[in-house]
């Protein structure tokens, strides 16, 4: 059927078309958000309290809530994830336990975020009695982020040359001294990059925080980790489906702030990676 050259031309055109159909909406979405959201951004919006049933005023508490939640998530998931990665790369033998851990991590990465929400509700909010709070939300998001951080940290640790470890051991260092002295310092850029990316995903999540921390309307800043908090992604949900007649400007403004929050993290991760890659000597 026809000339192979012509078929190739046609097929490559179809491939290109499919790619365009995927990419164009991405660009369009950013254009829409920027076009409608930028006019809303001003000091009053960013640093003000919501007013008139969230139909006016600012979104400061939601920004602070998201910030606290992101930091809380990091406080739990970073040490746990890095230590777990150290176990897998530096200590674990190739046996059934290691395989079990790997399978668990893969499965954790695949569990739906709403199931994390249920689990957080059952364990942290109810069973441990933390109530709906920044603490419960951070722990829930930390568990959800764990696989990302473990995977990124493992990759970073593995790329540290084996010879560095050998030198350290040959000088009489113990395993931990070697990890602390030569392995970790050289893996930190990769670990940080992966962590920031994981956290940026957590910052945009709604389902895990629905029942563990998010407050519908709470025009005050949280004062302790046992307080509930307003959070950006949930606030977008509220503004778009739960409260009637919210001005589009406020909706898009809030969305733009969340998108900026997430993208600043993504861009700093990319920047970090580029910076360290340039400095890398081995």
């Amino acid at each position: 059927m026809g000339d192979p050259k012509k078929i190739q031309k046609l097929m490559f055109f179809l491939l290109l078309l499919a790619t365009i159909i995927i990419i164009v909406p991405v660009v369009a979405i950013f254009a829409i958000i920027l076009f409608h959201g930028l006019p809303a951004l001003n000091w009053g919006f960013i640093f003000g309290m919501p007013r008139e049933g969230m139909r006016a005023g600012g979104i400061f508490p939601t920004i602070i809530g998201t910030l606290y939640l992101t930091l809380g998530t990091m406080a739990f998931s970073l040490p746990l994830g890095v230590l777990a990665a150290i176990y897998l790369t530096e200590y674990a033998a190739e046996n059934w336990l290691t395989r079990l851990i790997e399978i668990s991590i893969i499965n954790l990465a695949g569990i739906p975020s709403i199931v994390y929400g249920l689990f957080g509700l059952g364990l942290f909010v109810m069973f441990l009695n933390f109530g709906a709070s920044i603490l419960a939300g951070s722990l829930t998001l930390a568990i959800m982020t764990l696989p990302v951080i473990v995977t990124a940290s493992r990759e970073a640790l593995i790329t540290v040359p084996k010879s560095f470890r050998e030198v350290s051991y040959s000088l009489g260092a113990s395993r931990w001294q070697t990890v602390w002295g030569v392995v970790l310092p050289n893996a930190i850029p990769g670990i940080l990059t992966g962590t920031i990316l994981g956290l940026s995903r957590a910052a945009g999540e709604t389902a895990p925080i629905l029942f563990t921390v998010a407050a519908f309307y709470l025009p005050a800043l949280p004062r302790s980790i046992f307080d509930q908090a307003m959070v950006l992604p949930y606030h977008i949900y509220v503004l778009s489906t739960q409260v009637p007649n919210v001005p589009a400007k406020i909706q898009y403004g809030t969305i733009l702030v969340l998108v900026l929050f997430v993208f600043i993290m993504n861009i700093s991760a990319a920047f970090l990676r580029a910076h360290f890659r340039k400095r890398k000597l081995w």
Binding site: P4, K5, I7, Q8, F12, L14, L15, L16, A18, T19, I22, I23, P25, V26, I29, F30, I33, P79, G81, L83, A84, I86, Y87, Y91, A92, L97, I101, I103, S104, I105, N107, L108, G110, P112, S113, I114, V115, L118, F119, G122, L123, M126, L146, P147, W176, G204, E205, T206, A207, L210, F211, P233, Y234, I236, Y237, S240, I255, L258, V259, V262
Partner: protein, 294 residues
């Protein structure tokens, strides 16, 4: 003396490292136990078979009816729709990016896909309401565009980064010699892609489909916002539906803690957990086997 202290400290740190290592296993087990514990009495009381095959989800009528079937069908419809759309597009994009695109365009396209992955799902849900739903409504002349189809399209879009990147990996790990061999025999680039590269990358494509399904079936907020939220047995993609995930998100907020309704939501969670567990296990086996075989 300080040596002794250091040794002791080291032992403690190494104990912490080991504990953190097995924490992932503990969490998986703990999640399962919690979901199981919270839903066990519900499944017994309401008769598991009646729940799984029940066609009516009326959790707050009197007497309540807890049939999961409409929810499972909702998830199935939306997921199938999404995969049918996402796989051909994802495969095409992965092929274009890794085989056809010139270097400069490749970077741009990859960045575009990464950008898509970084958009929070709640934002996509909102865009779905204001842009996608009206399009569907007008195109099919419906009363509302909030349908299973809207959910499928949106989810296909959201699964794209996962699918494209896995297939791309699979394509790039096809040995260059295969390709060069085919080209040397006079095959065109497209014939090489079709006869050599796609078959060689097939396990990766299967894994991408599996992980794509896992990603899609677990998505909550966007689906909740744009599928119209009606817990009825769907017959076409142009109807509103309610997925398993959306049901938990929509109802857990208002449910009476300790009621059958409350426990039924944990039951839905357990089902989701099991489905994704199996899917990820299969995907891992496919990918892992490929790694072993070389």
């Amino acid at each position: 003396m300080t040596r002794m202290k250091n040794r002791f400290l080291e032992k403690i740190i190494e104990a912490a490292i080991f504990l953190s290592g097995i924490v992932a296993v503990l969490i998986v087990v703990l999640i399962f136990i919690f979901l199981f514990k919270e839903s066990f009495s519900f499944f017994v009381k309401e008769n598991m078979l009646a729940v799984l095959l029940g066609r009516n989800w009326y959790p707050i009528s009197d007497p309540p009816q807890f049939g999961f079937l409409p929810l499972m069908m909702g998830s199935l419809f939306v997921t199938m729709g999404a995969i049918v759309i996402a796989v051909p597009f994802g495969l095409a994009a992965a092929l274009y990016i890794s085989e056809v695109a010139p270097a400069w365009l490749k970077d741009i396209l990859k960045t575009g896909i990464e950008l898509l992955a970084a958009i929070p799902s709640i934002v996509l849900g909102f865009i779905g309401i204001v842009v996608l739903a009206p399009l569907i409504k007008n195109f099919f002349h419906l009363g509302s565009g909030l349908t299973a189809l809207a959910g499928s399209i949106m989810l296909a879009f959201m699964a794209m980064p996962t699918i494209v990147s896995i297939i791309e990996d699979a394509i790039t790990s096809v040995p260059r010699s295969y390709k060069q061999g085919a080209l040397a025999l006079g095959a065109t680039h497209w014939q090489t892609i079709r006869r050599v590269i796609i078959p060689a990358a097939f396990p990766g494509i299967i894994a991408a489909v599996m992980l794509g399904i896992g990603r899609v079936i677990g998505e909550t907020m966007a689906v909740l916002m744009i599928t119209g939220n009606a817990a009825i047995m769907p017959t076409t993609l142009l109807q509103p539906v309610r997925t398993l995930t959306a049901t938990i998100a929509a109802e857990m907020g208002e449910v009476i803690r300790g009621s059958s309704h409350y426990y039924s939501l944990f039951g839905i969670g357990l089902i989701l957990f099991i489905i994704t567990f199996v899917i990820n296990l299969i995907a891992d086996l496919v990918l892992h086997r490929r790694r072993i075989n070389g």
